[in-house]
């Protein structure tokens, strides 16, 4: 089956983020397709490249990055939600004249149309709320 996954919880703050990661892994292991993972609300912090948890803790953002890279997943961070919360790529850094960009290269900033398009072409949509 083809899934669209919506993640609304931030890593380290909300259990939803970690549940979503496990769900995505399990879906892939069973041979399903992840059409798109859409990070929205506080979930946009998943795309931050700056997270630095203590060594003895689970590296949630790194785990997301590996999952996305190894499976060549389409991971979209909602641009409107991300800009408010201080998650930017190089283009937006330039546009808003900010001092840095912090979006991990495994993620792409884009609009809500990406969520709708993915949903419309998937068998299932599942939301992980914070």
């Amino acid at each position: 089956m083809i899934f669209t996954v919506v993640v609304l919880g931030a890593p380290y703050s909300s259990a939803a983020n970690s549940t979503a990661l496990r769900f995505c892994r399990a879906a892939l292991e069973q041979g399903h397709t992840l059409k798109r993972i859409f990070f929205y609300g506080d979930g946009v912090h998943t795309g931050s490249s700056l997270s630095a948890p203590p060594q003895d803790e689970y590296k949630l953002t790194e785990q997301w990055q590996s999952l996305i890279r190894e499976n060549q997943l389409d991971a979209i961070v909602c641009i409107a939600a991300a800009l408010r919360r201080g998650v930017l790529d190089a283009d937006e850094q330039q546009r808003y004249q900010k001092s840095a960009a912090n979006l991990s290269q495994d993620f792409t900033l884009s609009g809500l149309g990406q969520l709708i398009e993915a949903s419309a072409t998937s068998d299932r949509t599942i939301t992980f709320g914070a």
Binding site: T4, A81, L112, I116, S119, A120, T127
Partner: protein
């Protein structure tokens, strides 16, 4: 067209969910999907008349709500038991063209969808 239902269950000003739900609905309408919107639980407070969120430096969600028909979102539903338990009368809603649903009608609405966007 895919049938989608956005369920919006949170207050207008406590966090960003209400606004994010509404933005999602408008995006679906722009993408010409068959999008419907259901308010229930504390989400029905979003419909209350007379909101002045400028007092807490927030934008008024009511403007976006009233734009729904313009963007082609015709089906806006409200879970009537949620209104009743909060003492909100139909007259005090900022939107006129909403359909009030009983529990059974809400169940039927949910059961008829292909996708739910949960907010």
């Amino acid at each position: 067209m895919t049938s989608m239902l956005c369920i919006s269950r949170h207050t207008p000003s406590g966090n960003a969910l209400a606004r994010e739900a509404l933005d999602t609905v408008l995006a679906a309408a722009a993408y010409e999907q068959d999008i419907k919107l259901l308010f229930m639980d504390d989400g029905v407070w979003q419909l209350l008349k007379g909101q002045q969120p400028s007092h807490i430096n927030q934008k008024d969600i009511t403007k976006n709500l009233s734009a729904l028909p313009i963007f082609g979102v015709e089906e806006v539903y409200v879970h009537e038991p949620s209104l009743q338990s909060r003492g909100i009368s139909r007259d005090s809603l900022s939107l006129n063209n909403v359909q009030l649903l009983t529990n059974e009608q809400t169940q039927a609405l949910i059961a008829s969808q292909q996708h739910i966007l949960s907010f």
